[in-house]
Every structure is written in structure tokens, then in C-alpha cells.
Amino acid sequence: MPEEFEPRIVAFFCNWCTYLAADLAGTSRIKYYPNAEVVRVMCSGRVDVQFVLKAFAKGADGVLIGGCHPGDCHYQEGNYKALRRYRLLRRLLRQMGIEDERLRLEWISAAEGDRVRAVINEMVETLRKLGPLVKSDAARAHLLEVA
């Protein structure tokens, strides 16, 4: 893949931990890659597997789900639901030829502004190595051939 490839990441952040951490990163002026765009949900438990699939289908090279640490969920156990869905979805994505690294679930508490930077930067670098989800124009064209 050409160097100029910049991965696009859709990030589903829970309102109480990870989204606040992202805000904290902001107030702390912590700098990180601009490749991730945040969709706010109240809880990682709201993240429907369909959302992740939609993001991949619409051109995301990676999807990041951020929730509260185990035991710290603002809604007690929503993050465990997210974890279970994530583990099964991963296996499905593998069958679909999508690498594990493209979908990450991370626990980031409201206090961990720096972790937002670490996780996003790390993911961006990994995805740069992996290259785009849609590997070639040919592959892109294929699904259009009948449209």
C-alpha cells in the first residue's frame, strides 16, 4: 500500500468513561492522530454489532469501541455485554477476512486521557501497516459491477 494511506477509524465511546477521557485528553492538550472519529453512545452496551459492520461496510478501516473498565461500568455491566459481543464478532470477522486488529475494544476510564492518545495512535500505526480494508480498486469495483 502507498505510504499516503491514512486509515479511517470510527470510535464508539461510552458517555461516562471513554468519551470523558477523550475530553480530558483535550483539556490536557494531549496530541494524537486525527484518524479516529467518535460516535458517542451512553454505554458500550449500546454498541450494536450492526453499527460496527456498517462502519466497515461504509469505508472504515478500523473500529474502536471504548468503555469503562470491568466493574466500573456506569450502568454496572453494560461493558460486559459489549465484551461478549466483541469476542463473537471478532470470530465472525475473521471468517469474513477482516483481521482482528481492525476491531478493538478498550477499557478507558474518565481519568485516562493519555490512554486515548496511546490507543488511537497505536491503532492508526497498526492499520497503516495493514493497509486499507478494501484492498484494491478491483475489489471496490467488483461490488459495483452490478449496481
Binding site: R8, V10, W16, C17, Y19, L20, A22, D23, A25, G26, T27, R29, I30, K31, Y32, P34, E37, V38, V39, R40, V41, M42, C43, G45, R46, V47, D48, V49, Q50, F51, K54, A55, K58, G59, A60, G71, D72, H74, Y75, Q76, E77, G78, K81, R85, S109, A110, A111, E112, R117
Partner: protein
């Protein structure tokens, strides 16, 4: 997507936030870009959208340009979502036809490249524009506020908050873990910088608490469970048995005198172990309540069952002593909670190079507070463990503060209390006092003046972090003394100061069990472990959980005036809720489309609040919107999509996802 106002007409507002956003995001370009997006009828950029003129813009455009959807791209929704929703409401539009884009905390402040930050801002605005088109009008629910208040922690913060609320006519449950209220302040002798006696200002408030009709005081008690939501919390309080019935005890304390132990043998925690107490004791003379407590660990009756229980005899026909008393649980319902759980002091053993616990004459500041205290173990005599009066005293600042190896933060109070102790010890002993400091921090009313006063009292100040405290003498002058090794950064060489007493100015840190308490009340901690306020400046006593407030050092180190001020603020916040009588809830709850629910019951087990119930008669699930906290977990779990969540409808989220990516 047309009803109820005809075609969707979106207004987009880009905030400069002065230069906070404008410096990194090309707000003009962003506004022009937004203007071209579908359904957008106008797009403006403005210096401060949150300002009155900014909000007026929105109100006017709603009227003049018939907007029926509004997008504001500015700071975090946690900051101003409410502000702008209100602006819509005032403008005559349902406040939920609004979506906020965070281009400050999550764009301008975190990216350097103007081009990239602007590109990202465009993506986010585009997403919001697509999302908001699917927004529906919603009504806020109202929840009545139960007027009683739970205050956890009976230090000066809890006391002050309790009295404020009680005086305002609200009933307060004040729960304290120790046998008495008073907290750390009760241990102090004088308070800086005014040197007025801590007891003199604290104990009246303590007794006021005891006697206040609106305060239920539960000492020796802990909150073990909290359920519910703002306005309607249910708390369980575990009351440890003190083996003396508060309602029967008159506080004569004869039982203590009567104890079979003639000599007190047990370390007295209140005096930092510098004195002894009996198994039946009262923490300190002015303790509130004035009711002794029996320590089953050391009481012979508990250990052997063979005690003559002279205490019971002494109590006579009051029968206040009941050695069979058992722990009991109290269930209370309150509308608001104030956490004033305070702090713990840094354990000086974690800085072994200062010799605490190794050299008997190395003391912590709190121990010296007791030594100088007239009601302390030595009745105010500052003497070493061997009874000698110290001739030279070294006070080491920043022990467990401003230190990579222990705690990074400045504990804010150590400089000042070190100065206070320097003054008091000198006053009591006339000893030479050496202060070893990194920086002298005196940012408070009368603080700097106090520092100057100390300088004039010829207290020595040596600038430098102390390397170690040792008894290894290099010459006769050091023999039998403790030697403080320090690099005098002003003089520019390493010095060895022989002293016979070392005082460690230990810092403040969160209680070891702060994480459990945080979970109990479903709030967050900041990275250093103190409870996290909703906003460092604009909501310093609020938490992210409505109806739960913070006061005192549980939120971060602070001195007494600040603590009292914050306690007052917390009380005021609680009052505001109580007197409003109700709180408006976020409408982002889940609801079941009963037409389409297939009754598979998947959702039932999803909800930790039992807000989803299965109604057998109709074989469908139903959501209790009052219990629902709006996490949306059941929505994602509903296999046939029959459960929906206001403000987080599938339509809206899918539109947002597609919006973010639609230039991909």
C-alpha cells in the same frame, strides 16, 4: 423525516471558542462546508456560541428562518449541551431537535495540523447534520426529589454541610465511620495562618450537630449499599456495635474509670498511638457523641468471658452497656448525597530514607499536632520519646508529595502547617527549627504574611529536598543526634544538619478504599484517586451522577477554609435540587414497540435495574421508564429490533456512522 414542521431545516453553528477552536480549525471553511450539506438552510460561525449573543443567534434563526433542527459545533456536550438545548426551547423548538459536535476537546485541542483538524471537524459536522434529521421531539420526565440528604463523612466538611442543610430545614443523615465526628481537624491544635484553636472552632459545630433536631447522626457506621437515582436513592447503612446504647448513655464516662484495666494498655489511635487507652474508651474528651465505645479486640469479657464487667456495674441502672449488642442495618431513602469522606495522610514508612519507624525521634506532622495539643498525650509538652525536650528540630516538607516515587501532586497544606508547627514547637520548646522545603507555597489569605512572621522568628529555612535522615554521626557534634542530609540549593552545597527531632510533613492522599466508595456511589476517580468532579471549574462539587456531590479532601487536598466553602457549595447544590422539588430526567430511555415485541425475553436479563419486565398477559416486555437509566444495552440485545432508545435510535446512529464516513 418531514413531520412535524414540514421539510427538515437545519441550522449549523460553528463556535470559534475565542481561539480555542479557531486557531486550529478553519471555522470559516467549516461553516461554508456545512452550508452545502443536505437540509442545511443556514450555517454560521461565531466567536462564542455559548454566550448570550451566541444563543440569541439560534433563537432568532429558529424564528426568522424557520429552523427545525440545530447543530452546534463547539465544545464537549458535557459542557454546553444543556445550554444549547435550553436555547432551542426558548426559541420555541423542542430542545431535542439538537445535536452537538465536539470540535474542541476532540479536535482543535488534540490535533496540530490545521488541515487535518478541519477535515475531521467537517466529518463530524456532516455526521451531526445527517443524524439530527432523524431527531424526534421528546419530553423530559420529572422525578420528585426526596428532601432528605445523606452525608458520608463527619469531618469538618460533612459537619458544615450537615449543619447548613439542617439549618435550612432539611433532614440529614450524617454517617461517620469512626466512633466520633470531627475528622482530622479535631486532632489539630491550632489552625494556620490565624493560629486560632481548632477545637475552639470545631467543637461548637460538633455539638451543634449532636443537638440538631434535623440531623440523624450515625457514627461507627458505614454505607454498604446504594440504589436508585437522583431524588430517590435508597441507602443501606451498617451500624457497627459500640456495645453502649447511645439512647441510654448519659456520657458520664464512669464506665471507663471503672474498667478492670487500671492502666490503659491499648494504643490510642486518636493520639496517633502516642498514648494509651482502655478497652472501653472515648476517642477524645469533646467527642460527639459523648458515648464511649467498647473495643472487642481488647476487652477481656470478649476475649475470655471471665471479666468482672465492672463497667456494667458502674453504669448501674442506666443499663446503657450491652456487650451483646449486634451490628444493625438501617435503610434510608434520600434524594441527594454529599460525599465528604476526606483523606488519609501519606504513610511515612513509604519513604524509608527519612527513617520513620526506624528512629524513635522521627515524627509525622500529625503526631506533633498531638504533641503540641494541650489535650494531647503530653498535655501540650513537646518532648521526645525519652522525655527530653528537643533542642533542634528539622521539619521535612513534601514527604509523599511532589515526588515521582510516591505522589506527584502537591498536597497544598503542608507548607502552611509546617510553618504553623515550626511556630508552635519553637513556642513550646524554644528549639532551633529547620524547615527543609522545595518551594514555599503560601497562596492564601494571610499565608505569605505568616511566612514572613516565621522568618522574623528566626526559624531556619533550607531550600532543598532532604536526601536522608540518619543517625550515623561523622563527628562529635552529630553524636546521639539525627543528621539530616540535604543539598542546600541556595548555598549550593550538601549540608548535614544534626537535630534531635525530625518532623515529616506528610502529604494528603485518597483513602485506600476510595475505589470501593466510588463504585458504591457510581462516580469516577481522577487519575490520582481523588473523586472526580463533573467539571474542574464550572461544576467542582458535582459528580457525573446526578444528585451526588463532593465536599472536602475526598475531591482533592485543600485546607479548612476551602473545605468549608466547598461543603457549603455542596449543601447549596443539594438544596437547589430539593427546593426545586423535582429534577428533569434525560429522556434517553428505552421503550418497547409492543406491536413488534415477540416476547422472547432476551431483554429481561439485560437490565441491571430491573427496568424491563415481562408482562405475561400480553406476552411482551415493557420498560419502566423511571427505572430505566438509558444505557441502551437492551436495545442492542433485542433480536428483532423491537426495543428503541430515545436520542440513540438506530436511525440516528446509523445516520451518524454513514455521515462520518460518507466522504470515505
Amino acid at each position: 423525516m418531514s413531520e412535524p414542521f414540514g421539510p427538515v431545516r437545519i441550522g449549523v453553528y460553528i463556535c470559534h471558542c475565542g481561539t480555542n477552536i479557531a486557531a486550529t480549525v478553519d471555522v470559516k471553511a467549516l461553516a461554508e462546508y456545512a452550508d452545502l450539506l443536505p437540509n442545511v438552510v443556514l450555517s454560521r460561525d461565531y466567536k462564542y456560541m455559548c454566550s448570550d449573543p451566541g444563543q440569541d443567534l439560534i433563537r432568532q434563526d429558529i424564528r426568522d428562518r424557520q429552523l427545525n433542527r440545530v447543530v452546534v459545533a463547539s465544545c464537549s456536550p458535557h459542557l454546553h449541551e444543556h445550554t444549547f438545548r435550553t436555547a432551542l426551547k426558548v426559541g420555541g423548538l423542542n430542545p431535542f431537535y439538537f445535536h452537538m459536535v465536539n470540535i474542541r476537546e476532540q479536535a482543535s485541542w488534540v490535533h496540530e495540523s490545521r488541515a487535518q483538524a478541519t477535515r475531521k471537524a467537517k466529518d463530524l459536522v456532516r455526521a451531526a447534520v445527517q443524524r439530527v434529521a432523524f431527531h424526534q421531539p421528546l419530553e423530559r420526565g420529572r422525578v420528585a426529589i426526596q428532601p432528605d440528604v445523606l452525608i458520608v463523612g463527619g469531618g469538618i466538611a460533612g459537619i458544615h454541610a450537615a449543619l447548613t442543610l439542617a439549618n435550612a430545614g432539611k433532614h440529614v443523615f450524617l454517617v461517620e465511620r469512626e466512633a466520633t465526628i470531627g475528622g482530622h481537624m479535631a486532632k489539630f491544635d491550632k489552625t494556620f495562618p490565624t493560629l486560632d484553636c481548632a477545637a475552639c472552632i470545631l467543637t461548637p459545630k460538633m455539638s451543634a450537630v449532636r443537638s440538631h433536631p434535623n440531623i440523624t447522626l450515625w457514627t461507627y457506621s458505614e454505607v454498604t449499599k446504594v440504589d436508585g437515582y437522583v431524588g430517590n436513592y435508597k441507602a443501606t447503612v451498617l451500624r457497627h456495635p459500640r456495645f453502649i446504647d447511645e439512647s441510654l448513655c448519659s456520657g458520664c464516662l464512669e464506665c471507663i474509670e471503672a474498667c478492670v484495666y487500671k492502666q490503659a494498655k491499648v494504643n490510642d489511635d486518636f493520639n496517633m498511638g502516642l498514648s494509651k487507652r482502655r478497652p472501653i474508651y472515648i476517642p477524645f474528651p469533646q467527642a460527639v457523641p459523648q458515648v464511649p465505645v467498647v473495643d472487642p479486640e481488647t476487652c477481656i469479657q470478649f476475649k475470655s468471658g471471665k471479666c468482672k464487667t465492672t463497667c456494667i456495674a458502674a453504669c448501674g441502672d442506666r443499663h446503657a452497656i450491652n456487650l451483646h449488642m449486634e451490628a444493625k442495618e438501617e435503610q434510608i431513602e434520600v434524594g441527594t448525597v454529599i460525599l465528604a469522606t476526606g483523606f488519609q495522610t501519606f504513610d511515612a514508612r513509604r519513604a524509608p530514607y527519612y527513617g520513620y519507624g526506624k528512629y524513635p525521634n522521627v515524627y509525622t506532622a500529625l503526631e506533633v499536632e498531638r504533641l503540641v495539643n494541650a489535650s494531647g498525650p503530653t498535655a501540650g509538652e513537646v518532648v521526645l520519646r525519652d522525655g527530653r525536650r528537643p533542642k533542634a528540630v528539622g521539619i521535612v516538607h513534601c514527604v509523599g508529595s511532589r515526588d515521582e516515587n510516591t505522589n506527584r501532586w502537591c498536597s497544598r497544606v503542608c507548607c502552611m502547617y509546617s510553618l504553623k508547627l515550626a511556630h508552635l514547637v519553637k513556642e513550646h520548646t524554644g528549639a532551633e527549627i529547620f524547615n527543609f522545603y522545595i518551594d514555599m507555597r503560601t497562596p492564601g489569605k494571610g499565608f505569605e504574611e505568616f511566612y514572613q512572621k516565621l522568618l522574623s522568628e528566626r526559624v531556619h529555612f533550607i531550600r532543598g529536598r532532604v536526601a536522608e535522615v540518619t543517625d550515623w554521626a561523622l563527628d562529635s557534634s552529630e553524636e546521639g543526634n539525627l543528621v539530616i542530609r540535604v543539598e542546600d540549593t541556595l548555598a549550593g552545597f550538601v549540608r548535614r544538619i544534626p537535630v534531635d527531632m525530625v518532623v515529616l510533613a506528610t502529604g494528603l492522599e485518597p483513602h485506600a478504599d476510595a475505589p470501593e466508595v466510588r463504585r458504591l456511589f457510581n462516580i469516577s476517580c481522577a487519575s490520582e484517586g481523588f473523586f472526580l468532579e463533573r467539571h474542574p471549574k464550572l461544576a467542582p462539587v458535582n459528580t457525573f451522577t446526578d444528585g451526588i456531590f463532593l465536599a472536602g479532601c475526598c475531591q482533592g487536598p485543600k485546607d479548612i477554609p476551602d473545605t468549608v466553602a466547598q461543603a457549603g457549595a455542596a449543601a447549596a447544590e443539594a438544596l437547589a435540587l430539593i427546593d426545586a422539588g423535582y429534577v428533569e430526567t434525560e429522556p434517553n430511555t428505552a421503550h418497547v414497540d409492543e406491536e413488534r415485541c415477540c416476547g422472547c425475553k432476551t431483554c429481561i436479563s439485560m437490565c441491571p435495574y430491573h427496568a424491563v419486565a415481562f408482562v405475561d398477559e400480553i406476552h411482551k416486555s415493557r420498560v419502566n421508564e423511571v427505572l430505566c437509566k438509558g444505557c441502551g444495552t437492551c436495545v442492542a440485545a433485542c433480536p428483532s429490533g423491537a426495543i428503541r432508545q430515545n436520542l440513540f435510535e438506530d436511525d440516528q446512529i446509523f445516520a451518524e456512522i454513514e455521515g462520518v464516513l460518507s466522504n470515505a
